[in-house]
């Protein structure tokens, strides 16, 4: 029997609005990520904002962010960024697997631990990305320097993005009527 547990859960106001909020965040940050910036070379090292949003979503509301969700987010990222279809789906699945193992540590500690866990997950994410690049592209085209700068920028901007997303999330939850 096919069960629509996810959909029926989602239709509850306290589930639907946060879900919609994170979808909107992914859309906005995704478009922001591919905006041409007037500073030369900034686009090549621009922080991976979608990675940060996906991480926050998976940590904050794991019941709304399962493997199927991150798989679809990965496909969306591939369509948006022009990368081979399936590339970000693989990366996001690995990320969620890592979060599932890190979650017992994350939930009981403060922001410092969340940030450290994000740094560890993001590093793993970038390493897997480079490995996938080795299989799909020319070795010479791999710019490790730029990837490391992008990783560092992603870890740095995680703090303000976390603050921003949490502020919006609290705003939505405060106005959501739970029946």
């Amino acid at each position: 029997m096919i069960r629509f547990a996810f959909i029926s859960r989602l239709l509850r106001a306290d589930q639907f609005f946060p879900w919609l909020y994170f979808i909107m965040m992914l859309l906005i940050f995704g478009v922001f990520q591919v905006t041409p910036w007037p500073v030369a070379d900034l686009n090549r090292v621009f922080p991976d904002l979608m990675l940060a949003v996906t991480f926050i979503w998976a940590v904050l509301r794991p019941e709304l962010c399962g493997y199927i969700t991150v798989f679809i987010i990965g496909l969306w990222a591939d369509l948006l960024l022009g990368s081979p279809i399936g590339m970000h789906a693989v990366l996001n699945m690995c990320l969620l697997l890592a979060i599932k193992y890190l979650r017992p540590v994350i939930v009981v500690r403060g922001f410092g631990v969340i940030w450290a866990c994000f740094a560890a997950s993001a590093t793993g994410y970038f390493i897997v990305k480079q490995i996938l690049l080795l299989f799909t592209h020319d070795f010479y085209g791999m710019s490790f320097g730029k990837s490391i700068v992008q990783l560092l920028l992603t870890i740095i901007v995680f703090a303000p993005i976390f603050g921003l997303i949490m502020a919006g999330y609290r705003f939505i939850m405060a106005r959501t009527v739970i029946h």
């Binding site: 591919v34 007037p38 496909l75 369509l79 279809i85 399936g86 693989v90 996938l132 020319d138």
Partner: protein
Amino acid sequence: MKIQKRLRIFSATRSAIMPRLVFVLLMVLALGLLSVQISSPSAMTGLRIATMNVLQPLFSLTSMITQTASDTVFGVLNFASLSSDNARLIAENQQLKIAEQNNMRLMDENTQLRKSLHVVEDLPSNFVTARVISDTSSEFVRSVIVNAGAEQGIKRGYSVLSDGHFVGRVTEVGTSSSRILLITDFASRIPVVVGDSSEQGILSGDNSDTLKLQYITQPQSINAGDMIITSGKGGGVPAGLPVARIDRWDGLVFRSIPNVDLPSLRYVQIVDYGLMPMLEQFDHKPDKFGQTKK
């Protein structure tokens, strides 16, 4: 009691196994999609074009906001140097006037010589200037999206120039936006000729900031700083467009630097050189029996 206990065990086992099973299945699916995409890069073009069409207004809006903000900031920063800029532009204008007179004399001479030699004229070219609204360049791909598409008469395969220099080709065309594959992309291959030596080769990208010059027969005749221009062989790109300059020999191939700073592309000219009939000639699609039409 026994049945209830068995049901509980079954339910616990299922809830423990299901996520792992979903993970494995989705991972296999993702890797499958990835291998399909790598073996046939144009496999999901329709899906990409649909996404591009939907997001085009959003891309336009965000790029306009960043452009306006940067123009304002740079405008304020450059305010102090207005008088020195003005003096420089006056001097530059004088030089350009002299150059214009020389060019007109050369154009006249060129027209006379062409007439006397009965040279076959090049096909007339039409162009559209478009704004870059999204820069999707990353380790995976080097491409940009511009705000001109089928509505503006853009077709797949058109050449893309910036300040007269070849920078890429149109690969996907949406209703009012198109994706341009830059010369630095892994999939880009351009037949070229090296300026002074007339040596022919293929200029290919590898997703780095430089280009590889391959299939050269006499590498000793090539020097650093030599200009690389399109050869026009294959019919996809017209001849004589400047692309890059030779930078160095890295032990395996010549590395060259594009003439245009590709990360700073803001406006491009999408040019129809009348080569589409030639391109379409090679763009056969297999019919239902797997045969290609000629």
